[in-house]
Symmetry: C2
Subunit: 312 residues, 2 copies
């Protein structure tokens, strides 16, 4: 696929996936579909909807769906896994924004959940979205084979938990100097490890989910895993470059916070120019990982370039 | 089984289950056993261990194990489900104790997690324990049949999420008047519904887990579900009576808080004497539900009496 055509197709597909994910999350969180035996906690459901709907590029759902498409997985199954992953992603944003964590007031150009509602509600929104993710994955609509669903549960729990995203956030707070007199001086290797947990694990799961849903053989599974790991690292570096160079109005959140808060980022260690070199190297690596899929992986390759060139 | 012998056997078994649960949680959260691919967030693991180990009656694990024993489920499988449930229970205590929620400083006679560590760590401890619970349930050690494991995942997610525990906590905060000028005046039915979600759902899951692990037929599954629902309601009323009559030193946490905070409790509506009558009625109902199991359910019946008579 030529570069231009691939890019246009990528943007169209990303928008398409975003709309489908939004619509499924809306349906899953709708009044009649919520699996309630008893009273409906209206405020909680409203705040969960506020946290999940109406925004986001849905890049993780895109990765799930395009990875699954390599194995001809029915789209409605991949969308269920994508919606679950998006619930985990949104829960992490809600909790990370809390005053005791990163203390952010804006997210996607709107007040964060604890500003729009209150702190107690925000804590429960995060807890409920995380729990709901496993509810979604466990449903037969995600895949008729229970063994595949349980493999997704295990992979998602590992990606989100203390060995993944939550553990990475903890290491990040520690690196900031929250629990010591001064911020820690991390090596590049330590920063990369931290980011691979905090941000990379969920992006890597997105690609793994496609392989799990598609019952991929070991070789293809490993290829997607390598793609997911490199794209995850690239995504974080691009995010850190944006934090330095970006514009708050375009991003819909505060920028320039990382330097002020002594955040552990590759950009802080390497500087923007060398970080961008590293980013380009990672994108090339990610594309190379997709080699076993040939032309079928054109959209995933375009996703790599999207990550490298993103401006928001 | 005669009353006295049953009670002695019950206490011995409860202690035995507590020790086995403690030991399994210790092993699951131990350095080598934690499924980490990368850096180990030491502070997070330490705080998770603080939140989970060294305390608690482990009444929920007891219900899982004794319910499972009715179907001759191997004990080590029931213990895995019990450990997962205890992770969910402990996560809920850590988050409920947070300043933005119930703002408690003592739990089981020790400083709460956010007092011993800090708020950000406490939020991440809760998130990680909830995630870890699904990790545990998804492992083959819990049951070799993936269909049984995924049934546990779904039941646990429903019990813990917006239709269960988290939703109940939200309704409870609303009833306290957090989001309105004055506390709401709930009817007894509304209070019972709220408590069935907030506390009852996990206790009910404990009994359901035994039936799921044991691949119980519909009749026995329904019987255990009725037992779980009534014991759950009884447990909460006993807790509320203790809050009025109990002694902080014995309980290891603050007492008399419910009245001050306008908590929605059956005791507040009925008074202690009539609440105790209701409690006794529920225990009789719970025992009756166990009829299909005959003498095999002696220990579960004793658990009902333990709930009715608990002093701490």
């Amino acid at each position: 696929m030529a570069g231009h055509a691939a890019e246009a197709q990528f943007v169209a597909r990303l928008n398409d996936v975003a709309a489908a994910t939004e619509s499924l999350l809306d349906r899953l969180l709708a009044a009649t579909a919520v699996p309630l035996e008893r009273a409906r906690p209206e405020r909680l459901v409203a705040a969960m909807r506020y946290a999940c709907l109406g925004g986001g590029k849905r890049f993780r759902p895109f990765l799930v769906i395009e990875s699954a498409a390599l194995f001809a997985v029915p789209r409605e199954r991949a969308l269920m896994a994508a919606a679950a992953l998006e619930c985990v992603h949104c829960y992490s944003l809600v909790h990370d924004d809390l005053p005791a964590m990163d203390n952010d007031e804006l997210r996607r150009g709107r007040p964060t959940v604890h500003r729009q509602f209150d702190e107690a509600t925000a804590i429960l929104v995060g807890d409920s979205l995380l729990t709901f993710a496993f509810d979604i994955v466990a449903r037969p609509e995600t895949h008729p084979d229970a063994a595949i669903r349980i493999a997704l549960v295990l992979a998602l729990a590992r990606a989100a938990g203390l060995g993944g995203m939550a553990g990475g956030q903890m290491l990040d707070l520690a690196a900031e100097g929250r629990f010591a007199a001064a911020p820690a001086r991390l090596s590049l290797a330590e920063v990369e490890e931290l980011q691979a947990m905090k941000t990379g694990a969920l992006l890597r799961f997105a690609c793994a989910a496609g392989a799990i849903l598609g019952a991929a053989d070991a070789r293809r599974r490993a290829a997607l895993d390598r793609f997911g790991a490199t794209i995850g690292e690239a995504f974080q570096i691009a995010d850190d470059i944006l934090d330095v160079e970006g514009d708050a109005a375009t991003l819909g959140k505060a920028t320039g916070k990382d330097a002020g808060a002594h955040k552990a980022t590759a950009v802080a260690i390497l500087g923007v120019a060398r970080a961008r070199e590293r980013l380009n190297g990672l994108i090339a690596e990610a594309e190379a990982a997709l080699e076993p899929f040939g032309a079928d992986a054109g959209l995933l390759k375009a996703a790599g370039r999207f990550v490298a060139e993103r401006r928001a």
